[in-house]
């Protein structure tokens, strides 16, 4: 058998050492368990870290397996897993905002609604799970287009229909909307899809900062924008919710 590449063997040994549960090890532990000089071990770890296979904890400086490894083995997040993790947070968002909450993911050329929490009044409402919404006009769609390159490539190609006079259809205008979305971390839809309806959405990321979905609050424009402006506390609540779900997704990755 031909001689194997030594540094790759050492890298593999390091990954095995770090594998299994919540294992975090310092540089000297890793070096001594593998019988390597600290400098050699550090060089390999740094390379693994640059590739995302290893992560270094900021406070303790210890190393652990990186999210890239999980992504390789399990390349997508199951939407039902996403719903299960989001359940508590989206309930709370509906309750605190008094509006309905939707969770959406990219599907084909649109947004697939994977979870829906009713507006907390006693009115009759229909569960919208499974419905599709357009990418270019809804708050959920804009957030996905701004953060997910796959969604972006879809939205530039689809016909961007003008649902209302306020829908942005021109590509350059739409791109600057996405820039704005990325800059402030959220997107809005004020009567751009349905007359009288406004919504605010924020992105949900997994631990690797991959956008996996978006969460939105939707309601009557009179309630969401009482003075023609979106209520800032609503924006804050949606972003808090998105962050909480993102945290929940990251918390159990390894």
């Amino acid at each position: 058998m031909a001689k194997n590449i030594q540094s790759l063997e050492r890298a593999a040994a390091m990954l095995r050492l770090l594998a299994g549960g919540e294992r975090r090890l310092g540089l000297s532990d890793i070096a001594s368990s593998l019988g390597l000089a600290k400098g050699t071990a550090h060089g390999i770890l740094r390379t693994l870290q640059a590739e995302g296979f290893v992560e270094q904890e900021a406070t303790s400086g210890r190393y652990q397996l990186g999210a890239e490894l999980l992504r390789l083995g399990n390349s997508y997040l199951d939407v039902h897993e996403l719903r299960a993790r989001a359940l508590v947070w989206t309930d709370d968002l509906a309750r605190s905002s008094g509006e309905s909450v939707h969770l959406g993911v990219l599907h084909l050329q649109g947004v697939l609604i994977v979870h829906h929490v009713f507006r907390p009044d006693d009115s009759r409402q229909v569960l919208e799970v499974g419905a599709m919404q357009p990418l270019h006009s809804t708050a959920l769609g804009k957030v996905l287009s701004a953060y997910d390159p796959v969604a972006h490539s879809e939205v530039v190609e689809v016909e961007r229909e003008a649902f209302t006079p306020r829908t942005t259809t021109e590509l350059t205008d739409f791109e600057s909307l996405l820039d704005l979305t990325r800059a402030r971390g959220w997107a809005a839809d004020v009567e751009e899809t349905w007359d009288g309806v406004a919504s605010v959405a924020a992105p949900i990321h997994d631990r690797r900062r991959m956008p996996v979905g978006a969460v939105a609050v939707t309601g009557a424009v009179e309630r969401l924008c009482p003075n023609g402006e979106l209520r800032p506390e609503l924006v804050a609540a949606v972003r808090d919710c998105a962050r909480a779900v993102s945290r929940d997704l990251g918390a159990r990755r390894f």
Binding site: N74, D78, V79, H80, E81, R83, A84, L87, V88, D91, D92, L93, A94, R95, S96, H115, H116, V117, F118, P120, D122, Q125, L127, V129, E233, A237, D240, C241, A244
Partner: protein, 508 residues
């Protein structure tokens, strides 16, 4: 989330559960303000035996109460009352002078009293005490567990007869310790927990002296039976010193209360590892002829008690776990929905998970699980669908039994528990029951129920109407299946159920 809702006053609830103890703080709207949780050790001394270290549990309870308060930045003076909910039937005896348990607690799942229960049935069988207690003689319930400890811990019976020993389910243990323990702690239980001991008469809500005597349980170890919502005493030490301890409810009854099933005919079903369904039967003690249990739903202070029928399904969420861990067909529990959604129907396959026999309404311990209706057409996706359908059909069987016993048609089913995040299951449930299925906004209905009862006791909420006003619908699934298809599939399910029976031939 920090906003106007998270300012006081608050109610705290302790949920002393089978695997962990939790404390949740709620605000006036019934919203969660803060949570803390700690797991405790499951002790398995022999196959079928399950024990808990009650001292560890008490330490954990103190920690999660302190933890919930500090996490939420909550001042003890803002906590107006504390409520208790608990794993039911788990049995403890302790020394009232030292506060030390005389043995580990015998957990409800512990089957060591199987033989004793058979013996207690004498020539009558497992329904010997059913008319008085609403329960069959089964190893879950506390009475026979007390007897086992008295028989098996050396010198215990003498100490009990001398008046040095106290019995309690976990509600009693937590309340006794909160209110001072050996230094003046109150020894009480509530009607719902007492109704799971097999020692309480459902009609009088008092200990049944005759049954206690037949079981060999001295009356002086038993706690005083109180309502589910009243001030039992005040916290003596710790972060919540001085706060009234104002409710106790067994976990499933607490969920019924938290779901605000206050009217006769209202029912809730909690979907976890197993599933527990309770239906409010008002002031009627309904004797079940369909294998359901009769139990106390709750009692608020001086008001009349409210009774309930209970049906449980042994294997629901655990079937999904089995598909993941034993079969390896899915990587996470949530994936069952993805797999099941990839097909339109079950492809003719039915899965009856009678892993340890059939429970309500059949009670056949000779049954074992089957997958029926297999053809070469069936894929793993069809099996995944059959797995979800099994939970829905079993719920249908329980609701049919409840309708038969009570004469009340189910108008809607309120659901909670982890499996409610499974959209396909919830839709299937609605299709099979031919009734709307409703999920409330607060998933933590067990803790919420305990908080509600405690809040009522101290006037934090004026009445059950105020609690109903807090209830919010988060989602509702309505039936979409046509009646003919439902009927023919139900028939196939029942046929599959028949195939499970009689598998075990020599039952010892």
């Amino acid at each position: 989330m920090t906003d106007a809702h998270t300012s006081g006053p608050f109610i705290a609830a302790i949920d002393q559960g089978t695997t962990s103890s939790r404390c949740i703080v709620f605000d006036k709207d019934g919203r969660i303000v803060s949570v803390d949780q700690k797991e405790h050790e499951q002790i398995f001394p022999k196959p079928g035996w399950v024990e808990h270290d009650a001292a560890e549990i008490w330490t954990n309870v103190q920690e999660v109460v302190a933890g919930a308060l500090s996490k939420g930045g909550i001042a003890a003076s803002d906590v107006k009352a504390i409520g208790i909910t608990n794993q039911r039937e788990t049995t403890l005896l302790w020394d009232k002078n030292t506060g030390e348990p005389v043995h580990n607690a015998l957990v409800w799942q512990d089957t060591r009293t199987d033989a004793l229960c058979k013996e207690l049935g004498r020539n009558v069988g497992q329904d010997r005490f059913r008319r008085e207690t609403g329960l069959p003689l089964a190893s879950y319930f506390a009475g026979p567990k007390i007897r086992w400890m008295l028989d098996n811990v050396e010198g215990l019976r003498e100490r009990a007869e001398a008046g040095d020993i106290l019995f309690g389910t976990m509600d009693s243990w937590v309340i006794w310790n909160l209110t001072g323990g050996a230094d003046g702690g109150v020894h009480v239980t509530d009607v719902t927990n007492a109704s799971r001991t097999m020692l309480m008469n459902l009609h009088t809500l008092a200990w049944d002296e005759k049954i206690a005597e037949s079981m060999g349980v001295p009356l002086n170890v038993l706690p005083e039976i109180r309502s589910s919502a009243e001030v039992y005493g005040h916290v003596k030490d710790g972060v919540l010193a001085g706060v009234p301890v104002a409710s106790a409810l067994g976990d499933q009854q607490a969920a019924l209360f938290g779901q605000t099933c206050f009217a006769e005919g209202e029912a809730k079903s909690t979907y976890g590892t197993g599933t527990f369904m309770l239906m409010n039967t008002g002031d009627k003690i309904i004797n079940s002829y369909s294998g359901l249990l009769t139990t106390v739903g709750y009692q608020i202070g001086e008001e009349k008690p409210v009774y309930a029928l209970e049906g449980s399904i042994a294997v629901t969420g655990s079937l999904v776990q089995w598909m993941r861990d034993q079969m390896g067909l899915i990587k996470s529990a949530a994936e069952i929905e993805t797999l099941a959604s990839s097909v339109e129907d079950n492809g003719g396959a039915y899965f009856v998970p009678a892993f340890s026999g059939l429970f309500a309404p059949y009670w056949r311990s000779d049954a074992r699980g089957v997958i029926a209706g297999l053809t070469r057409y069936v894929t793993k996706a069809h099996i995944a669908r059959a797995v979800l359908e099994a939970t829905a059909w079993q719920t249908r069987e329980i609701t049919d039994a409840m309708t038969k016993d009570s004469g009340v048609e189910l108008t809607a089913l309120k659901v909670d528990g982890g499996m409610t995040s499974n959209n396909l299951l919830m839709q299937t449930l609605s299709d099979f029951l031919d009734a709307p299925v409703v999920r409330p906004m607060v998933a933590e209905t067990t803790c919420l129920g305990a908080a509600y009862a405690a809040g009522l006791a101290v006037g934090f909420w004026p009445d059950t109407d105020a609690l109903r006003a807090n209830w919010r619908r988060a989602a509702e699934w309505t039936p979409r299946m046509d009646a003919d298809r439902r009927d023919s599939e139900y028939k196939s399910w029942l046929k599959a159920v028949e195939r499970t029976m009689g598998w075990i031939e020599d039952e010892e």
